[in-house]
């Protein structure tokens, strides 16, 4: 038997070991199990850094891929005045460095020093905003320790005012107008977040980089607009507006076969790079947002409705006086210039643009049917382009037409339409009577290769093929026989055209103000393009100017797209009897 003391010692040692082990076990479990999550999270925050990974906002390009809007990288220089001023003899040293910086980025070094000295306790001040890559690289090479840099993604519009009213722009609070705003879903990028652990020397530890949120680039928005044609149309419309002293002007070129808008010009324009140069009212697109009473360009649609319904044909005869007393107390209407009674055919009524003649044809078709035709041509309804601030124009129900409006709508007063709506109605005439939805966006092309926002190609038949062909023939007589014909000629091509001079309603009546326009389709033997040139509130009502503008834009379009010249000669319809 061992002595008692020995046994007590052994017991003591064993007990101590067990007790210590138990303590360590408890601590171990506490660290490894109970607090494990919190501790490793704390460790991660000490070791890992999170940084924002920037997605790139998508470009807006024209139908041939020319960039209308793109994202560019600019840099901000950020400082902490508190830290900057910690060094010895700070203001002298800092001024030296500032001089080096301003040699690169421009500006006054002493003014910058003053701003730094004004807020000595601040930890965050901008020294410079939006410097270019070259400037950034040069400043980085100066190796000034107290500078920090931040990436600043910006938007650039390399073509300036070309399609500026369509593209829109981005303000400090994001997209403000145009397609930048309405197609933001396509263009917008999403910034991501990535975390990584870094070693003592700042290098990311291998395999430690984790994307918390992957950044997403925006899609490329492809328009139907042709930049070069757009440039020409804008230039030509600007000249026209200045020559006429107009308040506004729009020019639209639409392809007949698919309703694609190849050029939509607005004057006055906006340069999205510097919207402050423009009036607030000029930031959108008038072609979409400003309806006007179209006037005589509607007569082509009236003639098409009459022929399609079988109420009249190209040779239906009326006697057109200078002034006509309307039925049911509608008052007196007159033509734009004095003439003796004319014996006109329907074709002749279009060539002479006689209101009194059209009013008489109007009685051949009942009001509701005429309303339905105008509606089917797209008037009174939004085009479906969904442009920011787009207007539907006004087309009242036939039951609301008073005795005068009943006639007036058929020569384009008492209803209003936008330039795009008028282009769409003329597209119907050129496309064998089938109206296609006007299209401004070809699609949104995503980085993964998928394409969304593709336009609808569902057409609706408005009038028969025969009716559309006969209408174009009558409009071709305007091209060959009207008073403006000399200003309209495009050698080698058959063109269908109609002029419009509409009075502008103001304070309950019609005054001196007018909107003048020319709308037409070419070539007539195989219609391909619609052109509409419109000038609002000109000082001089000389339609010869706008006629030659129409001709130049149509000629430029036909040349740009190398349209085969017409192989046949135009019709020779009787205008009088």
């Amino acid at each position: 038997m061992k002595p008692r003391s020995t046994r007590a010692r052994i017991t003591f040692v064993v007990f101590t070991i067990v007790a210590l082990t138990a303590v360590f076990m408890v601590r171990l479990i506490d660290l490894q199990v109970v607090q494990a999550e919190a501790l490793s999270a704390e460790a991660d925050t000490k070791r890992t850094l999170t940084r924002v990974t920037y997605g790139t906002r998508g470009d807006i390009v024209d139908t041939r891929g020319a960039v209308l809007a793109d994202s560019v990288e600019r840099f901000d220089i950020v400082i902490s005045p508190r830290v900057t001023l910690l060094r010895e003899n700070a203001s002298v040293v800092v001024l030296e460095d500032l001089t080096k910086i301003t040699n690169v980025i421009g500006g006054d070094p002493t003014a910058l020093l003053t701003t730094i000295l004004e807020s000595p306790e601040s930890d965050f001040e901008y020294l410079a905003k939006g410097i270019t890559l070259e400037q950034y690289q040069t400043v980085v090479e100066l190796d000034i320790a107290w500078l920090y840099y931040e990436l600043r993604p910006e938007r650039s519009y390399p073509n300036g005012e070309v399609a500026g009213n369509l593209v829109g722009f981005i303000g400090t609070d994001g997209p403000q107008a145009g397609l930048e705003l309405t197609k933001d879903e396509c263009l917008a990028s999403q910034d991501g977040e990535a975390s990584y652990a870094r070693g003592e020397d700042g290098v990311a530890l291998p395999g430690s980089s984790v994307d918390i949120l992957e950044q997403k680039d925006g899609g490329t928005l492809k328009l139907t607009i042709d930049r070069d044609l757009q440039f020409y149309v804008q230039q030509r419309m600007a000249q026209t507006a200045e020559a006429l002293g107009a308040t506004w002007a729009t020019g639209v070129v639409m392809r007949v076969s698919d309703g694609h808008l190849l050029a939509v010009s607005d004057w006055p324009t906006v340069d999205p790079n510097n919207v402050n140069l423009s009036d607030v009212g000029d930031l959108g697109s008038r072609a979409f947002s400003t309806p006007y009473e179209p006037g005589s360009t509607i007569k082509a649609l009236t003639a098409a409705s009459l022929i399609d319904s079988g109420s009249a044909n190209q040779r239906t005869q009326v006697v057109s006086p200078y002034a006509l007393e309307l039925a049911n107390g509608g008052g007196v209407i007159s033509d734009s210039f004095y003439h003796a009674d004319q014996r006109l055919t329907l074709a002749g009524a279009l060539v002479e643009s006689s209101n009194t003649a059209i009013a008489q044809y109007t009685d051949l078709l009942k009001a509701s049917a005429r309303h339905d035709y105008l509606q089917a041509f797209g008037l009174g309804e939004k085009t479906g382009v969904g442009f920011n601030g787009e207007s539907s124009g006004t087309l009242h129900d036939a039951s609301q037409w008073d005795a005068r409006t009943n006639y007036a709508v058929q020569f384009g007063q008492g209803l209003s339409a936008t330039s795009i709506q008028m282009a769409s109605a003329y597209q119907t005439l050129g496309n064998d009577g089938v109206r296609l939805p006007p299209t401004l966006v070809e699609g949104c092309y995503w980085p993964d290769g998928s394409v969304t926002d593709t336009p609808s190609t569902d057409g609706t038949r408005v009038i028969s093929k025969e009716a559309s062909e006969q209408t174009l023939q009558m409009m071709e007589m305007v091209y060959s026989s009207s008073g403006s014909a000399p200003n309209l000629q495009i050698p080698g091509y058959r063109v269908a055209v109609k002029s419009g001079t509409a009075q502008v309603a103001e304070s309950g009546g019609y005054g001196d103000k007018v909107v003048i326009s020319y709308a037409g389709i070419a070539p007539v033997d195989d219609p391909e393009y619609v052109v509409i040139a419109t000038a609002g509130i000109p000082d001089t009502i000389y339609s010869g100017v706008i006629a030659s503008t129409f001709r130049d834009i149509m000629a430029q379009t036909l040349t740009t797209y190398r349209v085969t010249p017409s192989g046949s000669s135009g019709p020779d319809l009787p205008l009088r009897w």
């Binding site: 650039s156 005012e161 290098v203 291998p206 070069d228 080698g492 001709r551 036909l558």
Partner: protein, 206 residues
């Protein structure tokens, strides 16, 4: 099947209190053979060291890779930025307004009477073109672009370069006269065509 493992043979329990016997049980040859040999221990320890060394080397290589990746990523970022920058500059250079201004700077005007040739029947056809010889109604530049402020005209740069080249050629010619050696005579004559190549001939038709 053989095994490398050494098996401990069961030993009878010695009851405590029993006096140790003088007789010892001698292990058999088979039992002695079954015991672990030193070689195995050496191999095990050595391979442990090899594994540790390999792990260390691997870790060094991976770390080195991390630095390389880091520097390449930096390089990629820089190259991406440079590409973006160049694309931005290209888009601006190719903008409608710049092209129009540069072309006008060289004295180019739109063709007022373009013709096209129909290859099917050989007929020549006059395209509509613009009735206006300046191509923009006599008043160009109505479609602005604020980004183009300060964009130099290539035509003036070319003219300046041509002038400089001419001056160089004149200087070279002067040297030729001074040295009156035959070899520098060829140098002067080779400088002249170079200057001619650089210079865009001034437009004489208007």
């Amino acid at each position: 099947m053989s095994t490398n493992l050494a098996y401990a043979q069961p030993q009878p329990l010695q009851t405590p209190g029993q006096r140790p016997s003088h007789i010892e049980i001698v292990t058999t040859r088979a039992q002695r053979k079954a015991r672990p040999r030193a070689l195995y221990a050496v191999v095990t320890v050595a391979s442990m060291f090899v594994i540790l060394a390999a792990q260390l080397l691997l870790s060094i290589v991976v770390t080195q890779g991390a630095y390389q990746i880091d520097s390449l990523q930096d390089q990629q970022k820089l190259l991406n930025r440079t590409e973006q920058n160049l694309l931005e500059s290209l888009a601006l250079q190719s903008s409608s307004q710049n092209l129009a201004a540069q072309a006008a700077g060289f004295g180019m005007i739109p063709n007022a009477a373009p013709y096209s040739l129909n290859v099917a029947n050989g007929s020549v056809f006059r395209l509509p073109g613009s009735a206006d010889p300046t191509g923009c109604g006599g008043k160009c530049g109505l479609v602005g672009n604020t980004l183009l402020t300060g964009m130099p005209l290539v035509s003036t740069e070319v003219a300046a370069a041509a002038k400089a080249a001419k001056a160089t050629a004149a200087a070279a010619a002067a040297t030729t006269v001074a040295s009156s050696s035959t070899s520098s005579g060829t140098a002067a004559s080779s400088a002249a065509p170079e200057a001619a190549n650089n210079a865009i001939p001034a437009p004489v038709t208007r």
